[in-house]
């Protein structure tokens, strides 16, 4: 037995799934997964440079014309949401591929469609001058006054392609999972759920498979809403109808908020997939796991309207429902996923290399960002925090120190396993840089929000500039950490790519 196959056998015995299936049937899917992660995280780095530019402008250090600031801001937002979702969905596909028959062909096609969509967005903002914000909140895109209708249409076209790419991925994923488990009832373990764990006739899905099913359903819902929302928007742009502003806001947020929110849950799937490998402990599909994740299907779709608290035209009943849903969704995530992850790590004898460190960082960030989110989701509190820097504070925490950390961690895990080469020791230090730089960066957003600094302002008053200025050294530290991590991945990447065909033969 080679060391690799002995490891795989041990893993299997412990209920842990190796990346590469014993019959190597998923090697092509692992390659697509790597492509998604690399394209996604590479694009994240580029969008991060745009973000640095925004902070430099808001700090008064490198002032750019407001018309350019808003274009950069629009691309940064759209680009980040799309890139991070791409990275984590790729990782999740890789994670389930050993036990679920996915089609690399479909995943490649989805990638092409997705990339075509992002290219529309890049061209709309950078060439066309579109600066309507990634939220494209009607009627601003067609009422920007400094960009043309063509720019808005190109932006919408980009969103349409991205939604289609996401739809293709999710429909395929859901179908593949359902096939592997014999139907959706078994995939979501509904009999097990409703019998409080007593009915165990059906084999239970592994957590990453269950999670992939959950996020696929919500992706399909979000992408469908997004595509449908665009129909009246296009009709309005053609001058055929007028659209109700409240309806438009609900629709675009149901699409956009869900798309953004998805990333942390897909990222959680990566944690469920990788943590067992690091800790040597299986993460079993307990009743709590099934209950939490089945609930998340609904809860993820109901809390978007916490963005509408200041739209007093929204019916009060919906406002209160959003508040309840926002509190409620924190419970399954914290009680099942976070506690479960901590329990897996506690006294596990885990070896702290870059990949598990990144997962641990993401766990920290998810909860911290969640605290900020739950506070802002409290309606009276929202009155003094809505659209201040508090909002970017919480979602930058969820992303940078949550989903993004999970994505980097999973990519490190994949590259380590497939190339059979360890991460360099310096990468552990790089993760510390990432964590400290990232934490300082997001804390400054929270401080600014607590001081009522508005978000999305191209020009900051002198007294506001301090917050951005303090953030910048932290961004530099973060960038250094990310640069090193990128290098450590790049030097082993080709070996990992080749490793998708199986372990290298010892000569």
């Amino acid at each position: 037995m080679t060391p690799a196959s002995r490891q795989a056998a041990l893993a299997d015995a412990a209920g842990l799934t190796p990346l590469l299936a014993p019959d190597r049937a998923n090697s092509s899917v692992l390659r697509v997964a790597l492509a998604y992660l690399v394209v996604g995280l590479g694009s994240f780095l580029l969008m991060g440079l745009l973000g640095l530019l925004m902070r430099l402008d808001q700090g008064g250090i490198l002032v750019i014309a407001p018309v350019w600031f808003y274009r950069v801001m629009t691309l940064h937002g759209a680009g980040m949401v799309a890139s991070i979702l791409l990275a984590v969905t790729g990782g999740l596909a890789g994670a389930v591929s050993a036990t679920t028959r996915l089609s690399a062909r479909v995943l490649w096609i989805a990638l092409v469609i997705y990339v075509i969509g992002t290219s529309f967005v890049i061209l709309a903002t950078m060439v066309g001058g579109f600066g309507g914000g990634w939220t494209v909140l009607y009627p601003l895109p067609t009422h920007g006054l400094v960009w043309t209708l063509d720019a808005a249409l190109a932006m919408y076209a980009g969103y349409l392609f991205v939604a289609l790419g996401l739809l293709l991925y999710s429909v395929h994923m859901l179908h593949a999972l359902a096939s592997a488990h014999g139907g959706l009832v078994r995939l979501f373990a509904l009999r097990f759920l409703f019998s409080f764990g007593r009915d165990t006739r059906d084999p239970l899905p592994r957590p990453p498979e269950l999670i992939a099913g959950v996020i696929s359903i919500d992706s399909i819902a979000a992408a469908t809403v997004g595509a449908l929302y665009l129909v009246p928007i296009f009709l309005h742009a053609a001058g055929v109808i007028s659209v109700d502003a409240l309806y438009a806001k609900n629709a675009v947020l149901l699409f956009g908020h869900t798309m953004a929110n998805l990333s942390i849950y897909v990222g959680a799937g990566l944690v469920y997939a990788a943590l067992p490998a690091f800790t040597g402990r299986p993460w079993r599909t307990t009743w709590a796991v099934v209950c939490a994740w089945d609930l998340i299907i609904i809860l993820m779709l109901t809390n978007y309207s916490h963005h509408l608290y200041a739209d007093f035209a929204q019916p009060v009943g919906l406002q209160l429902l959003a508040e309840i849903a926002s509190y409620a969704v924190a419970l399954p995530s914290f009680i099942v996923t976070i506690i479960g992850a901590l329990a897996l790590i506690y006294r596990s004898g885990i070896r702290w290399t870059a990949a598990p460190m990144l997962m641990a960082l993401g766990i920290w960030g998810w909860v911290f960002g969640g605290l900020g989110a739950v506070l802002d989701a409290t309606i009276p509190v929202n009155q003094v925090l809505h659209n201040t820097m508090w909002v970017p504070a919480h979602f930058h925490t969820y992303y940078l120190l949550g989903a993004v950390a999970f994505a980097w961690g999973y990519l490190f895990h994949m590259v380590r396993e497939l190339s059979n080469q360890r991460a360099s020791r310096a990468s552990s230090i790089a993760v510390w840089l990432y964590g400290i730089g990232g934490a300082g960066f997001i804390l400054m957003f929270f401080v600014a929000g607590a001081n009522s600094v508005p978000r999305r302002y191209a020009v900051h008053l002198a007294q506001w500039q301090t917050y951005a200025r303090v953030a910048i050294p932290f961004v530099i530290v973060l960038a250094l950490g990310l640069a090193w991590l990128s290098w450590d991945l790049a030097r082993r990447f080709m070996a990992a790519w080749r490793g998708t065909e199986g372990p290298a033969l010892q000569s």
Binding site: V32, V127, A154
Partner: protein
């Protein structure tokens, strides 16, 4: 999307030498197809190949001789449609028809055999098609084609040639010279091709003045109508390109098993 006050001319052009060339090409193809390839006599080529090549010839005829081609002198948007048909529809269809005939290429002299392989190197093909597309859209070059019919023919031939080159690594390569053996490579190549024409299309769409002033001198044209038509033309390079490349992705990205046998 803006008013076009230039009137659309309905009528086909009749260009005997050109039509003759197309007919001859079609006849040569039919003979070779019936024969089963250029060198061998035993290859059975499916009817779909014949359909593809014939469709390509028809599309070239339509692009150049139908009202689309006729109005290309008057409207930038029509000229764009004409070019789109050549590079994105006719060129790949020609390859679909012709490629399997080159399969038994080992009987060709080495030079003939190696040339498509070298020219068809993905990087060379992409660079060539990109350069040609951009050069011919530079105002000076473009207006030259409007002024001189011979140059216009050269432009069309070079577009066709450049894109036969571009599509070759995806459609035309045979067992011996599979230059994009992995799906990852095919995706990267497709995306590169898409991005360069999308960028050009976007630049034209958003350009704030009329690029090709010859269109201002068409009867009925005003600066406003010409600019509006230019926006439409840019969009006609940009959006249909996205759709074409999506379709191409669906067609050329292969299930891994088939890739393996091709590379073998």
């Amino acid at each position: 999307m803006g008013t076009v006050s230039v009137s659309f001319v309905w009528g086909w052009e009749w260009d005997p030498p050109f039509v003759a060339a197309l007919v001859v090409a079609e006849l040569v193809y039919v003979v070779l197809w019936a024969r089963g390839g250029i060198v061998s006599r035993s290859l059975r080529l499916p009817p779909s190949r014949l359909t593809a090549f014939t469709a390509a010839m028809a599309i070239i005829a339509i692009a150049l001789l139908s009202p689309i081609g006729v109005n290309g002198e008057r409207l930038l948007s029509m000229h764009m449609v004409e070019h789109d048909l050549l590079i994105w529809v006719a060129a790949p269809l020609v390859l679909v028809g012709v490629a399997p005939m080159l399969d038994r290429a080992e009987r060709f002299p080495a030079v003939v055999r190696k040339a498509p392989g070298y020219l068809g190197r993905p990087l060379v093909a992409w660079v060539t098609s990109t350069i040609l597309l951009w050069v011919w859209h530079a105002p000076l070059a473009y207006e030259w084609t409007l002024a001189d019919e011979t140059v216009h023919h050269i432009e069309h031939l070079s577009f066709l040639g450049a894109y036969l080159l571009y599509w070759w690594p995806l459609i035309g390569s045979s067992r011996e010279i599979d230059s994009l053996p992995t799906n990852g490579a095919r995706v990267a190549y497709l995306v590169a091709g898409m991005m360069q024409s999308a960028l050009l299309g976007a630049l034209i769409t958003f350009h704030q003045s009329v690029l090709y002033t010859a269109y201002l001198h068409v009867p009925g044209a005003t600066p406003v109508s010409a600019l509006a038509n230019q926006r439409l033309a840019g969009a006609l390079m940009w959006y249909p390109g996205a759709i074409i490349f999506t379709v191409a992705a669906v067609l050329v990205i292969r299930p891994p098993a088939r890739l393996a046998t091709r590379a073998a």
